[in-house]
């Protein structure tokens, strides 16, 4: 059996275990959807580097991992200490903790949420037939895009639902921790899921921290859908702090309505192999969407960001900025596609990808793509790959700043544009400290 078949087999076994536990509930529409997704996964399977979209990212290391034979971890729930370091530490409306995709009521806290807002376990919402589930769950992702979306959908039984009704504004951010607990010898697979529905003129900020058990090669296969109705204001921050042996694949979709303003930030620090796919659809006139990302691989980390911004309606603005700071023998990939449909006149789309290589062996592949079918639009794209500006470095040193610090200052300056865009002050300060610390680690190593 090939490695691919092996892993597919493992997932099939996981699915069988899941079905057994259903005890007669296997004919519900929800389970029908799971079966369909599983069948789709069996057809689509894993992508290979022969696929244009996966040209720079090989899944081989993931396929070699030995995963636990069952889908769920034996009841060894992590204690507070495991997740304490990931707690927000700044004012939040709620802090919701998910362990391997399932909501943990004990570890979660609600501080100040308006009564009409739902923020918590999708499982509960499913039981209560929450209208957001029926209307939106699985309605925006495309099962066909790649096997990972199907796989996540096949194991969908819980996850995070945030539903903010019309004209409701939540000023403080909602903080979410997705923790993949993988304490045993064999690695665990988790399929966390998220659905955010923001109503008309609603506003919400969500901060997600992704992390897991140190030293384990677990695999987190994440799918997220965000639906923002007319005039809604949505900000989402994803902070990825997995350990450097872990695997993470994310597939995120966002659909923006008329006059909607949505911002999505990603900060990728951890993971051995990370692949992020983000699709943002500008689906209403006058929308404004921001897609920003910072990725900082080092050692032999591999971080791949694939984005697609689909301008379907006129008068929308999109801003995209991805920056990579790469050290060691790491590999970064950026592929950004912007489609401007024929109807999407007056589109203003800006895309930039800038990369800073801190070491000789770090590598970046960048591929910006524009597909324009409308004739009255403004699209700009730019990509740079560069090393530290020797002249600037020398200038700082000539003013008495030690080389190590000068390096740190200059690399931080490169990243700061993204950090400054973060509107939550507490988070901004944390990122500030963390990025400085990461850079400090880079420059304190002998090269």
């Amino acid at each position: 059996m090939t490695e691919k078949q092996n892993l597919s087999q493992t997932f099939a076994e996981h699915f069988a275990v899941l079905e057994k536990k259903l005890n007669g509930k296997s004919s519900t529409p929800q389970h029908k959807a799971r079966q369909e997704a599983m069948n789709r996964f069996k057809e689509v399977g894993f992508p290979s580097i022969k696929d244009e979209e996966w040209k720079y990212t090989s899944l081989t290391p993931l396929l070699k991992v030995h995963f636990q034979p069952v889908a769920e971890v034996p009841a060894l729930a992590p204690v507070e200490e495991d997740i304490a370091q990931y707690r927000a530490g700044y004012p939040a409306a709620a802090e919701l903790v998910f362990l391997n995709g399932a909501f943990s009521a004990e570890l979660s806290k609600i501080f100040a949420l308006p009564d009409n807002v739902f923020a918590g376990a999708m499982a509960l919402a499913m039981e209560d037939n929450h209208p957001a589930i029926e209307r939106h769950l699985g309605k925006h992702v495309k099962l066909d895009d790649n096997g990972f979306v199907s796989l996540n959908s096949a194991f969908l039984s819980d996850g995070l639902l945030i539903d903010v009704p019309d004209n409701t504004q939540i000023e403080l951010p909602i903080h979410v921790i997705h923790y993949t607990s993988s304490p045993g010898e064999d690695a665990v697979v988790a399929h966390p899921r998220k659905l955010v529905v923001a109503g008309r003129s609603a506003s919400v900020k969500i901060i997600e921290t992704h992390a897991g058990t140190a030293g384990s090669s677990y695999f987190t296969n994440y799918v997220s859908e965000t639906v923002a109705a007319d005039n809604a204001q949505v900000e989402t921050y994803l902070l990825q702090h997995h350990n450097e042996d872990a695997f993470q694949i994310t597939n995120r979709y966002a659909v923006l309505g008329r006059d909607t303003n949505a911002k999505f930030f990603s900060f990728d620090f951890g993971g051995r192999l990370v692949r992020n796919d983000f699709t943002m659809v500008m689906n209403g006139e006058g929308g404004e969407g921001t897609l920003n990302g910072l990725f900082m691989p080092r050692g032999d980390q591999h971080i791949d960001n694939h984005t697609l911004i689909d301008h379907a309606k006129p008068h929308c603005d999109s801003h995209e900025l991805y920056k990579g700071i790469l050290d060691g023998e790491s590999h970064g990939v950026f592929s950004g596609k912007i489609i401007v449909r024929q109807d999407a006149q007056k589109t203003d789309a800006k895309q930039a990808n800038n990369n800073l290589l801190l070491s000789k062996k770090a590598l970046v592949d960048t591929k910006p793509q524009l597909e324009i079918f409308a004739d009255d639009v403004k699209c700009t794209h730019g990509a740079t790959i560069g090393r530290m500006d020797e002249l600037a470095l020398f200038y700082l040193r000539s003013r008495g700043i030690p080389a190590r610090e000068a390096n740190n200052v200059l690399s931080y300056a490169f990243a700061s544009e993204l950090v400054e865009g973060v509107s939550v002050e507490g988070l901004r300060n944390q990122l500030d400290d963390y990025i400085h610390q990461r850079l400090e680690e880079s420059f304190s190593q002998e090269k």
Binding site: C379, G382, T384
Partner: protein
Amino acid sequence: MSEELKTIETLTKSEYKYGWTTDIEADSAPPGLSEDIVRFISAKKEEPEWLLEWRLKAYRRWLEMEEPDWQNVHYPRIDYQDIIYYSAPKVKDRPKSLDEVDPELLATYEKLGIPLKEQEMLAGVAVDAVFDSVSVATTFKEKLAEQGIIFCSFSEAVHDYPELVKKYLGSVVPHSDNFFAALNSAVFSDGSFVFVPKGVRCPMELSTYFRINSAQTGQFERTLIVAEEGAYVSYLEGCTAPMRDENQLHAAVVELVALDDAQIKYSTVQNWYPGDEHGKGGIYNFVTKRGKCAGVNSKISWTQVETGSAITWKYPSCILQGDNSVGEFYSVAVTNNFQQADTGTKMIHLGKNTKSTIISKGISAGKSQNTYRGLVKIGKNAENARNFSQCDSMLMGDKCGAHTFPYLEIKNETAQIEHEATTSKIGEDQIFYCNQRGISTEDAVNMIVNGFCKEVFRELPMEFAVEAQKLLGISLEGSVG
């Protein structure tokens, strides 16, 4: 069609102001091209043997070459046997000073807004006036000579400074470089020669004014500018031609050489006759312009405002050979009616820490086609090369086209390359927005177009920036200016 579009359409229709001819007796070669014609031109100019040999070598090479067809411009095949390769105003002897120049010629330049009498001239601008195939006058020669600066017609340079000409002619654009450069090398008639010696900063703008007058004549001038170590020179060329129903060919070659720490700024305001509103007549402007930053820390900037010609097809380029050398290209290309432009640049990075900037603004109106084509090439030894390119296109009306073809060839991974491109439509939205604030449509168009070109205009020497803005006004707005 909406009212605004109609307004743009009327505003973009305007008369070519320089379309008249000068009635002057000309000394011309018969039409057609052969070794005999090459010999005829060389003999007319009393050239040394080595130059005749060089011309013949180019001619023989040209015979073996194919006319290129990869460009995004279209024109009927040129009959090279139907062109007059040499035409000069008849004079008994070469005038010794401006006082001896034919008054008819002086009047011609006066009418073009280029007075050649030194006391009437723009202060601080020296002019070489080229009429069809020959240079008719060069101003401020003596004053420049005081600092060792040579500014004269190419023919004079061949006689007076043969060693310099021999050393640099063809050193940047070899005689076999391309089809039109080879043709030029065989039959070039005159042009300007500039030499700025070591450490000298040229105190005034140098300028050549090209005028095509005779019918059926091709203009094949050759310009060579050399800036020695630490020298600086700013040079400008302007061009016009009469309105004629046939197309006329202009195939010039410009070579720039900058040695260590030298800087050359080359600006063009090109306003050859563009043809009429039905696309009849006009100049084919097929020019090879290239500069070599041969020395370390040298810099060459090309600035061009291209409003005329039926077809503009040229890529002023920089070879960045010296370490830390800098190449710049700033361009505004305006096409209207049936004009076509395929222009851009090549930045060839060979030295370390070389830097290039490309700012291109294309404006298309009427039924015209406007193409930006640019190459950025980073050689394998060009450590830390940097390039920034920005290509903006503006469409006026809905029958014109804008195209952008950036090419990148990167052989060294330390390169930093940035590229930005935009395409926008001037039209109802912008004009209505201005109207709604109380600004008239005419002022609005003027404001929008000049705003769009601002980054290029500010690179021009002041006097010419004003001229360029006016020219743009004439090309696009008619009644404005």
